[in-house]
């Protein structure tokens, strides 16, 4: 029986995320693999091309510590809060290093992942027409319908070296099940050369559920058990979104020193996600006291 290795997250990141890789940590508000992002920071990966439709706080962190040389994205913000200040600082002032950007629309990014998952060299859509994105993003071209003559936007397939997602469950063979808002995660996994999945728990058997995506073990390179591994994002059925954290991130990220100190304490100063969550809980308790 082909089984996917069940590895500690540190080992999975060490094995599958390399300097210079193109890395997609996908998640659409729900199921964002924050813990994996933190582990990439702990292991000081460099020169990554980060890919994601909706880079949010974890990408702000990866960019802020200088892991990324390049960002491929369609919307970079702190949802419901505002800007990503580390992302802005990198683009506006090159701190801590310049960040090249390749910018698409959501529909374009989705088409690129679909093309990657489908083994096609490009995806097409009715999009981008009349926008200035066309002038600034060389990976937007056109293709002509051979039947109607209509000109459509063409975008190249995304094929990350490694995609990382968070899911609710895996079974002991490494089959993965996630449910609820599934975003573009299936496509991101299938488009990638390798895939790491962090899960809330391992179960003996995956019970079929409504609105579930099941990834067979043989398309997953490693599974790591990381309870609450999406925090401050959430996993339906396991946790709630920590909206306060997203709000609290704004002032931290506005200031380079505050940001670095936060990372040093919570990420570099902890050995794993359980340690990070414990540090956050201690602070909360102190603040409430």
């Amino acid at each position: 029986m082909s089984t996917t290795p069940l590895l500690p997250l540190a080992d999975a990141v060490a094995a599958h995320v390399h300097d210079g890789d193109t890395v997609a940590l996908e998640g659409f508000t729900h199921l964002i693999p924050h813990a994996a992002g933190h582990e990439i920071i702990r292991q000081s990966r460099r020169d990554l091309t980060l890919v994601r439709m909706t880079p949010d706080v974890v990408y702000d962190q990866l960019i802020g510590v200088g892991c990324a040389a390049r960002l491929v994205f369609s919307w970079g913000g702190n949802p419901g809060v505002g800007s990503l200040h580390r992302f802005r600082d990198a683009v506006e002032h090159g701190w801590p290093r310049p960040l090249a950007i390749e910018e698409h629309s959501h529909a374009g990014m989705a088409a690129r992942y679909v093309a990657g998952a489908s083994g096609l060299p490009f995806g097409m859509l009715r999009g981008y027409l009349g926008t200035d994105l066309v002038d600034h993003t060389p990976s937007i071209r056109t293709v002509t319908c051979p039947f109607t003559g209509e000109e459509l936007a063409a975008v190249p397939a995304l094929r990350p070296d490694v995609t990382i997602i968070h899911a609710q469950q895996a079974d002991r063979s490494g089959n993965v099940q996630l449910w609820g808002i599934a975003g573009v995660q299936k496509e991101a996994v299938l488009a990638a050369e390798r895939a790491i999945v962090t899960v809330e728990e391992v179960v003996d058997e995956l019970t079929p559920r409504p609105d579930a995506v099941v990834l067979p073990s043989w398309v997953v390179s490693a599974v790591s058990v990381v309870p609450d591994g999406a925090h401050p994002s959430y996993a339906a059925g396991y946790s709630e979104r920590d909206n306060d954290f997203y709000s609290a991130w704004d002032p931290i990220a506005r200031d380079r020193a505050a940001f670095t100190s936060w990372i040093d304490r919570h990420v570099r100063g902890t050995s794993d996600h359980a340690g990070l969550l414990a540090a956050l809980r201690t602070e909360e308790a102190l603040a409430d006291a």
Binding site: H30, T54, H106, A107, A110, L133, H136, V184
Partner: protein, 248 residues
């Protein structure tokens, strides 16, 4: 402009109120544009507030689509993010993000798409990408998200944006999405509608606002469509529903 996005000024005047904020006026004015059966592509913030207000008041059958894949979501409180669990659990159908853009938006199944922006020009083009030069921006904004395809594929586009000369500009620093399907712009001062000429025109001012106020807050020589109506202020029922929704 299709009839069902014409601002509805037939709200009974005897129930109007005066203790409302400009923010509330914007949400109410936007909600009035939606009707039973209108399929709306909704973002977080004002569009979501407006669409849920419509659903709680005159248009219980309005259909809310969130780009996170939730079709027919019926949240009991305003979602804080586009991926809130309640959007998924109350949806008629939950689909992937690629599907929502291809089978639902691109295929032309959306009647009304809402957009916000940092900048808007007279043609309805919007900028949510950068202030300043793209390669060395003064302010790097979040970027396009779903805007280019909402602007291209929704039958009608409604922009919600507070009035200021920084936002209502002669020329957008960057065209994130085009104005071809923009029908209405709702601001904290009034309501602009797309004119025959393809240029936005002032159609109504909110109570307490003058045409001159609006023109002064607009960075181009704003056309005015006479007679400029006064927007019907929020009714007591609208306000109550809105405040309930926000407090929930």
């Amino acid at each position: 402009m299709p009839d069902d996005t014409v601002p509805d000024n037939t709200v009974p005047a005897d129930t109007v109120t005066t203790d409302w904020t400009a923010d509330e006026m914007m949400s109410v004015a936007a909600a009035r544009l939606l009707h039973d059966g209108t399929v709306c592509f909704v973002g977080i913030g004002k569009p979501s507030t407006a669409a849920n207000l419509a659903r709680r008041t005159h248009a219980p059958g309005v259909v809310l689509i969130y780009e996170s894949g939730c079709i027919g979501a019926k949240p009991t409180r305003l979602p804080l993010s586009i991926g809130d669990g309640e959007l998924a659990t109350t949806a008629d159908s939950l689909v992937s993000v690629p599907e929502i853009f291809r089978y639902w938006l691109q295929a032309g199944r959306v009647d009304v798409g809402f957009l916000g922006a940092a900048q808007l020009d007279r043609y309805g083009n919007i900028n949510s990408t950068v202030i300043g030069d793209y390669d060395s921006p003064a302010v790097r904004l979040p970027g396009a998200g779903g805007a280019p395809e909402i602007a291209a594929s929704a039958r009608d586009v409604i922009v919600i944006l507070a009035h200021s000369t920084r936002a209502f500009v002669e020329r957008c620093d960057f065209v994130t999405s085009t104005g071809g399907r923009v029908r209405v712009v709702i601001t904290d001062l009034g309501v602009l509608e797309m004119g025959e000429s393809g240029e936005l025109e002032l159609a109504s001012v909110h109570p307490g606002t003058t045409v001159d106020d609006v023109r002064a807050a607009t960075g181009w020589d704003l056309r005015v469509r006479p007679p400029v109506d006064q927007t019907v202020p929020p009714t007591a029922a609208e306000l109550a529903a809105l405040r309930d929704l926000v407090a929930a």
